[in-house]
Subunit: 411 residues, 2 copies
Amino acid sequence: MKKNILYAQSGGVTPVINATACGVIQTAAKYPDRIGKVYAGKDGIIGVLREELIDTSKESKSGIAALRHTPGGALGLEESRAQYERLIEVFRAHDIGYFFYNGGGDSSDTAHKVSQIGRKLGFPVQCIGVPKTIDNDLPVTDNCPGFGSVAKYVAVSIMEASLDVESMASSSTKVFVLEVMGRHAGWIAAAAGLAARAEGDPPHVILFPELPFKQREFLAKVKHAVETYGYCSIVVSEGVRDAEGRFLADAGTRDAFGHAQLGGVAPVVANIVKEKLGYKYHWAVSDYLQRSARHIASRTDVEQAYAVGEAAVELALEGKSGVMPVIKRVSNNPYRWKIAETQLSRVANREKKMPRNYIAADGFGITPAARRYLAPLIEGEDYPPYDREGLPKYVRMKKVLAPRKLPPFEV
Amino acid sequence: MKKNILYAQSGGVTPVINATACGVIQTAAKYPDRIGKVYAGKDGIIGVLREELIDTSKESKSGIAALRHTPGGALGLEESRAQYERLIEVFRAHDIGYFFYNGGGDSSDTAHKVSQIGRKLGFPVQCIGVPKTIDNDLPVTDNCPGFGSVAKYVAVSIMEASLDVESMASSSTKVFVLEVMGRHAGWIAAAAGLAARAEGDPPHVILFPELPFKQREFLAKVKHAVETYGYCSIVVSEGVRDAEGRFLADAGTRDAFGHAQLGGVAPVVANIVKEKLGYKYHWAVSDYLQRSARHIASRTDVEQAYAVGEAAVELALEGKSGVMPVIKRVSNNPYRWKIAETQLSRVANREKKMPRNYIAADGFGITPAARRYLAPLIEGEDYPPYDREGLPKYVRMKKVLAPRKLPPFEV
């Protein structure tokens, strides 16, 4: 008996989350005898609660194909709590047999609960979690779709900006600070370390959220780099805290009205360097640029993002529920991977931080073990097509909604 | 009679300045009967003063070829005043018949003076200025090599980050601010406007250094965008000033010690939005990332950067001096251009700002005329090669110096 799929994206976007949507929709189309429509929650789970279901069969085939190379969340994402009974009501009204929730740890928890509550309410739905997060902090899976592309952006960017600084350091900027995302886990900051392959290569200092900021050791390291290599290239995770556990970003700057300024640990770190060592500095905050930079995506990442979408459909057709397709590393060199599966309960609400043995003994760089883990994830390029005007051909969905079947509902 | 070339880079780097070096060196190699060596001033003109001349014949052919796709300044750049008599002394010692100075308005002035002083001192040198600047503010030339790639980076980045904001705006960030370079001229900020091709497309607001910041009108524009499109995407030039002529960046923030914080107009603008309209915001400062992002270079720009290097050699062989090869636009659609030449005196120390008719009547966007001018400059992609580890194959020069012939000189 044919059932419909309900697919929803959750949390923050990644450069490749739409590739997963593409994998789901294109794979489902291969099973017309077993799968009906693929609906997508407009703006995520909130669209399901509001019974705003995007009917993806109304999109063009080329539009769906273009999802593979389009950043952002083409179906919308919104932060919202699930209200389980209402979800089941909507599922029942639209003959949803499969619920795919594409997100991180919280979403795994939600998908897990939906599967339990559906059964309890007499409308069993097969619930599949689909991993994605730029933070790379999900357990069980070897890595998270979305991370590899941000990792590549960060590694390429610090390599390029450091060439800039290096070429002008003798009379100009000596210290460059790049702030990257990662509130709790330092995976993104660590990825910048991939650019440093030989002694003296930038970045010379990485500041991880896993370790408290030690100003004296940090300054000594910066001074050493400037004196040895002529300049110092620094990558700082937004989540770095001082010894008392306060975010460095919050401790630092105030606006003209005296209010603490939100965000921006890079200027704080740069100011410390200026104050204590007197070096001329520049800083950059890549913010959303890093997690939307589809133009420099990792091919490995795009393929994995597509593959987990594909696998979700296949797991559903195998009758599975309460599971998540995960990436399993088969070998490092050459890098080979395959899709495996795990129970959602094993993924829900657990955070995978950087292991200590991935961080150099002095706390300011990555180890060979980290490099072996990280390097394959940025392998390969997967450029979007460009139009004649030199801009990427990114797609916007038409977002035609399925006709409502239920009375309005206040979210 | 064979003479040597002395090539030096000046000022700030661009994503494609090394493509110009590549154009000079590869073209000179085509005339072995007329041109001897191509020397490059280590770190620019200061290397010439110090008699530190990089002998580019000691680099590998593949290394020289890789300059075409390597960002930063591979030969080094340093801010330094020319000391003309010493320059001529070094030229004489190393049989320099041709001096190529690759830079902006200041460098044109220097090259012009060198040609005059050389004649006066009885050692005439053919001086050719070679244009480059990301600021696009040189007169006479239709555009400046280096600008097109930064323009492409900025247009692609705001397009991508805006897709991110758009997909999450209903419950999360509503205002995104991207700071771009351009202390005096708004060309780079304007280029971001290329991403906005249809009504409602981001960026919704551009702040130019050519116009004083009008807070009331700005806030009205932001509010309108959020209420109409659900979010507002803003691009701000680092050089924006208030009605009294003060940089907004300086007026804004203070560090924990009460010192004015250098740089960062994006957080200032974001804070104004937060204070007055209460919207949740994010901001990014791309800083050096934008002018080193060779990974997303404009093919047009790379070709033009190479072509001006090539043309410098050809002008020299035609016996010209005190001139600069410039880019002349032949047609817009399809875009065609050719190399022309101008007198250095016409370029020296003059700054080309955005014409007022390139800025929308309300001051917050670009006009169709600006689009016609800017769009061709970002046409085409020209990706660097990547290695198996997923990183670009950028090259470092060996920088073998020519043997000294003069006593040491204090710079």
